[in-house]
């Protein structure tokens, strides 16, 4: 189980691969569910040229670990990896990676979906977008539909 808050861009596919290699999961997992959130270049029908992600470091770390522990209690998971960007982000950059490993698909799929929603509603991150007319704080998350 691991969580990382990164100020630099990352390659989520390499992160998944490296994490798998670094663990003792070999030949144990039958399912890997992943979610990668990526920065779009638009929001509310406006062009977004850049974004800054602020966070509350101590509480963020606390909540990511808390979510992992809650997910482990809810589902039979072999491993979880969460990576979240902070700082200055450009369109196309990955913002968040959640990967769950389990013996069978249902646990990893359900846990991954649950972790996305819980993180978005509980972990203290805030987005500030740069649009044509200036910088704007994002006031609430989309409903995901």
């Amino acid at each position: 189980m691991a969580t990382y808050i990164l100020e630099q861009s990352f390659n989520p596919w390499e992160s998944i691969s490296e994490h798998q290699k670094s663990t003792t999961l070999h030949n144990q997992f039958g399912a890997t569910a992943t979610f990668i959130g990526t920065m779009r270049d638009f929001n509310d029908n406006e062009t977004v040229s850049a974004m800054m992600l602020e966070h509350y470091p101590a509480m963020t770390q606390h909540y990511l670990e808390k979510l992992i522990n809650e997910a482990k209690k809810k589902w039979d998971l072999l491993d979880i990896l969460i990576i979240h960007r902070v700082g200055n982000i450009e369109p196309g950059d990955p913002i968040m990676l959640i990967a769950c490993w389990s013996s069978h698909r249902r646990a990893s799929l359900e846990a991954c979906s649950w972790l996305i929603e819980e993180l978005k509603h509980r972990a203290p991150f805030w987005k500030k977008e740069t649009r044509i007319n200036g910088e704007y704080w994002v006031e609430k998350n989309t409903d995901g539909l």
């Binding site: 509480m59 913002i95 993180l119 978005k120 805030w126 987005k127 609430k140 998350n141």
Partner: protein, 75 residues
């Protein structure tokens, strides 16, 4: 007695306020009033005490860290 008070994101900009310590408070709501000199509380304001979400009626004690912030928008 000292209580750390932190502000984040749009709230910090709107209030034009830095993190600072206050000498005392009995609740998170009172800590807000003291730290902001009775600024009006935004409707969507959230509060955390020692890294856990709390209520404005929640009690605070010496050494606590209180954070005020708007709704979170990560992910």
């Amino acid at each position: 007695m000292s209580i750390q008070v932190k502000f984040f994101a749009s709230l910090k900009e709107t209030l034009n306020i830095d993190d600072h310590d206050i000498k005392s408070a009995t609740t998170a709501g009172e800590a807000w009033d003291i730290a902001t000199t009775n600024a009006e509380r935004p409707d969507n304001l959230l509060v955390a005490i020692n890294l856990e979400y709390a209520q404005f009626e929640s009690t605070v004690k010496d050494g606590d860290e209180i954070a005020f912030f708007p709704p979170v928008t990560g992910g």
